[in-house]
């Protein structure tokens, strides 16, 4: 690869990023899904998309999340052009993908790349719950595996923000295999000395929760996020009764020893930055 290739690729990525941002529709209404309070969009944005009234952490787009944690203009997107091939010929799946692509300006449910956090280079992936519930199919699995391999090679720390309903039904057993693939890639990265911070946001469930997302050296969650393997509805059907308040929410998981901490969004960048600093530049052993 020549220098020109590298730059033209970078330019392409940057252009695709700008295009993506332009395509992302601005939410029409601004009502807190939790307390139904109507909120001004500007105030919400200034408050990191946290409801001023009840403190609910609203869903954010992948690009908004990256903007919140990374130093200005430091994010370089990678693997943005991987797209699903409808591996099991699932009826109407391609149509569904197209609708979600237009809605989000992304080819699939995860954005991956490298950014700087307070000057420290970090590999980062953010799942976007707007895209088919952030479900993990072949593209999400492939991008996460590639990013973990890239982070191992470049000795970068790795942060993955999960927001996902689990494995993607429309790709059948291929989706289940992405659990194996991502878990294996993360383990390999960790064995090479890499620091993996798994950041769980609402919701992180099913096949994502039961694979790479639970393998963090440090696991952080956002307040009140739903984090589970089997969803509340499935459990209620199994046991035939209603679940207690707060069951499977972040605070419950912290109490049961499944998380290291719950971090308010206003402290997100500072917390990540401190953890990276405590692991030395990059957080990967230098041989």
């Amino acid at each position: 690869m020549t220098i020109d290739d590298i730059f033209s690729r970078r330019r392409k990525n940057w252009n695709s990023l700008i295009k993506m941002r332009k395509n992302t529709p601005v939410p029409k209404d601004s009502v807190c899904p939790k307390c139904q309070e109507s909120l001004s969009l500007d105030a919400l944005k200034a408050n990191n998309w946290v409801c001023q009234s009840c403190g609910w952490h609203l869903a954010v787009t992948a690009m908004d999340r990256i903007e919140m944690i990374s130093d200005e203009k430091s994010f370089k997107e990678m693997y943005a052009d991987i797209r699903s091939n409808n591996p099991i010929d699932f009826p109407d799946y391609e149509k569904k993908l197209e609708i979600n692509r237009r809605k989000t300006g992304q080819l699939d449910a995860v954005v991956t790349g490298v950014c700087k956090i307070d000057g420290m280079r970090t590999a980062v992936a953010v799942l976007d719950a707007r895209f088919l519930m952030g479900s993990m199919g072949t593209v999400v699995g492939e991008k996460i595996a590639r990013l973990a391999e890239h982070a191992a090679k470049r000795k970068l720390p790795l942060i993955i923000f999960s927001a996902s309903g689990g494995a993607r039904m429309q790709e059948g057993l291929f989706s289940l295999m992405q659990m194996a693939k991502t878990a294996a890639a993360i383990e390999r990265y960790k064995s090479a000395g890499g620091l993996f911070i798994s950041y769980l946001t609402n919701p992180t469930t099913g096949g994502v929760s039961a694979s790479y997302a639970s393998l963090g050296d440090i696991i952080i969650a956002e307040p009140d996020a739903l984090i589970c393997f089997a969803g509340p509805r499935v459990i209620e059907q199994t046991i035939g009764q209603k679940l207690p308040e707060g069951f499977q929410h972040a605070e419950f998981l912290l109490e049961h020893g499944m998380l290291d901490m719950i971090v308010h969004r206003k402290d997100m960048k500072k917390t990540l930055s401190t953890i990276l600093k405590l692991h030395g530049q990059g957080g990967v052993k230098v041989e």
Partner: protein, 264 residues
């Protein structure tokens, strides 16, 4: 010999769930000698939906792990109908780590409706246990072979199925979720499971064609001996590899299951 009727996907699901099908104890009995069962996760309890232990296979020690379904209601209550809790996966992890230390191949038998969706299972870290078991299997440097004997549903199956070589019995099914669960998500109606089976691609021939499994074992009265021959051949093949090669080949195997992601 009369020609076998080819079953529809849903008929295979029904067949795979039949109580009359052999369970893990019968496979162990037929295929291994000197089986010693080991119990417990050393943390909380012994989950009877997972059987594990050490046995001889053709004169060599191996670790055997599998889901257990009961032959009757009483047994099924004991082993929770083959639905595993975190303690079961943690027992599996403990036994796989032992196998690694003593250089024993790991052979797993999969037959589960899925991981148990209960309150206690969630409180005790079902996600953590399944993820841990997959991660553990991905790092083993001993040969690993999985046989899916009945139904292999969801992460609950994959937790002990991330092997070097994965085989299915002719009428077994392997899927992302039970057809009922799939139908309730996709059609909001679990009763549409039969239609769901048609599009889910869960049968052995379909999965073999996609390269998601390595082979199919015919059922009938020669089934046990076919499994025996397969295991012997696979352990011989994998046994020739260096530990590091085994780990690398397994990594590449799962790394490549990308459904032919196209780069634009």
């Amino acid at each position: 010999m009369s020609e076998k009727k080819v079953l529809t996907p849903y008929e295979r699901v029904v067949t795979a769930r039949k109580a009359g099908r052999p369970n893990i104890l019968e496979y162990i009995n037929a295929l291994f000698d000197d089986f010693i069962e080991l119990h417990g996760d050393r943390l909380y309890k012994d989950d009877k939906s997972v059987v594990g232990g050490i046995a001889m296979f053709h004169g060599k020690p191996v670790t055997v792990i599998g889901h257990r379904k009961g032959k009757n209601t009483e047994e099924n209550i004991q082993c929770n109908f083959g639905m595993t809790s975190p303690e079961g996966y943690r027992k599996a992890i403990r036994l796989m780590e032992q196998a690694e230390r003593f250089g024993r191949p790991v052979i797993t038998f999969v037959d589960t409706p899925g991981a148990y969706p209960g309150m206690e299972a969630e409180s005790n870290g079902q996600s953590n246990a399944i993820a841990g078991s997959i991660a553990c299997m991905s790092k083993l440097s001993v040969p690993t072979v999985t046989v899916i004997t009945g139904e292999g549903n969801s992460g609950g199956a994959l937790a002990i199925a991330m092997a070097d070589s994965v085989w299915m019995l002719e009428n077994a099914v392997y899927s992302i979720l039970s057809p009922e669960g799939f139908a309730s998500i996709m059609y909001k109606d679990p009763k549409m499971a039969e239609q769901a089976c048609e599009i889910m691609k869960i049968t052995a021939p379909e999965l073999k064609e996609y390269g998601l499994i390595d082979g199919i074992i015919p059922e009938g009265n020669r089934c046990f001996s076919a499994i025996d021959r397969m295991l012997e051949a696979e352990l011989l093949r994998l046994g020739k590899l260096k530990p590091k090669e085994i780990v690398n080949l397994r990594y590449q195997k799962y790394r490549k299951l990308d459904g032919l992601c196209n780069r634009k």
